[in-house]
């Protein structure tokens, strides 16, 4: 699964996610990626989030919207909110990660699996990418 979240110079956020799903998926299985609120969500009042991981758990946790709710109503920062939801997903038996960014540019990732490829670029800075680091 791949995804991107961004905040532009006007302070607007957006999220996108794309995936082939799970190898050997059957019976028309759909994961969280195309489900708005589960794998993908964006709200200027909170943050934008894209998810990857155990799709069924992310659906049950309504992960991307839950992060936005923690930011909007719980007054957490996006990365702290993401960490809270990933911890909850772990407790439910799920693995994976999220990327998130808020309208003020605060952003990053949270994950509980060692292999999430990720990267960040801020205006005027050099890009940073990481795998397993």
């Amino acid at each position: 699964t791949v995804g991107a979240v961004a905040v532009d110079a006007q302070g607007h956020v957006a999220a996108a996610t794309s995936t082939g799903g799970l190898t050997a998926k059957r019976w028309g299985r759909i994961g969280d990626s195309p489900l708005i609120g589960a794998g993908t969500y964006a709200d200027d009042r909170a943050c934008a989030t894209s998810c990857t991981g155990s799709g069924e758990i992310f659906i049950r946790a309504v992960a991307a919207h839950e992060i936005a709710a923690l930011v909007r109503f719980g007054k957490l920062g996006p990365v702290d909110a993401a960490g809270s939801v990933i911890a909850e997903i772990g407790a439910m038996g799920g693995k994976g990660g999220v990327i998130t960014v808020g309208p003020d540019g605060t952003g990053g990732w949270a994950f509980n699996t060692p292999g999430m490829y990720r990267g960040i670029l801020r205006s005027g800075e050099a890009p940073r990418v990481a795998i397993y680091d």
């Binding site: 791949v2 995804g3 979240v5 532009d8 006007q10 292999g115």
Partner: protein, 169 residues
């Protein structure tokens, strides 16, 4: 605010260090950097966050190192079935597609669904038809298929199925 931020993730389908050959590791990093460059260029040019996330994801869909677009994993029946979504935080407009098989860049099809505005999630043959109607680039299903992904499917089917499949998501 005059500054912008772009964050990406790109799954290869392998979950363990050591399973990933060095060339694949390097290719994955190069793909991530290319995606950041594409999205960053959109933002540097004054483009919207929506333009940036679409541009970044399109790069990873075209890159066979990632489980999306070209390089997507196989279903049990040996097909590449693609899902994507996009959402604009300004209006909370959203579009999504599932199980499409012929659109080169599924994220752009999701954006067309969003911009069309009548629906949020289209699936299967109907979504493929919508894609053709909107004039998006179409490819033969073989475009998405890679030998390594086929090998992964064969390995999982030989092992009995779903539990071992979690390695390749």
């Amino acid at each position: 605010m005059s500054e912008w931020t772009l964050v990406i993730h790109g799954g290869s389908g392998s979950m363990r260090r050591g399973v990933l050959p060095e060339a694949e590791d390097e290719g994955g990093r190069a793909g991530l950097e290319a995606a950041l460059k594409a999205g960053g260029a959109a933002l540097d040019a004054g483009g919207s966050a929506l333009d940036a996330v679409e541009a970044a994801v399109r790069v990873m869909e075209d890159d066979p190192h990632f489980n999306a677009g070209r390089g997507a994993v196989f279903s049990w029946d040996g097909a590449n079935e693609l899902d994507a979504a996009i959402m604009d935080g300004t209006s909370r407009a959203a579009g999504a597609i599932s199980s499409v098989t012929t659109t080169r860049n599924p994220v752009s099809l999701a954006r067309k669904v969003m911009e069309d505005g009548r629906h949020v999630l289209l699936s299967g043959a109907g979504a493929d038809e919508f894609s053709r109607d909107k004039g998006l680039e179409q490819v033969e299903p073989d475009y998405f298929a890679l030998a390594e992904r086929r090998r992964q499917l064969d390995e999982i089917k030989a092992g009995g199925g779903f539990d071992s499949a979690m390695k390749y998501g």
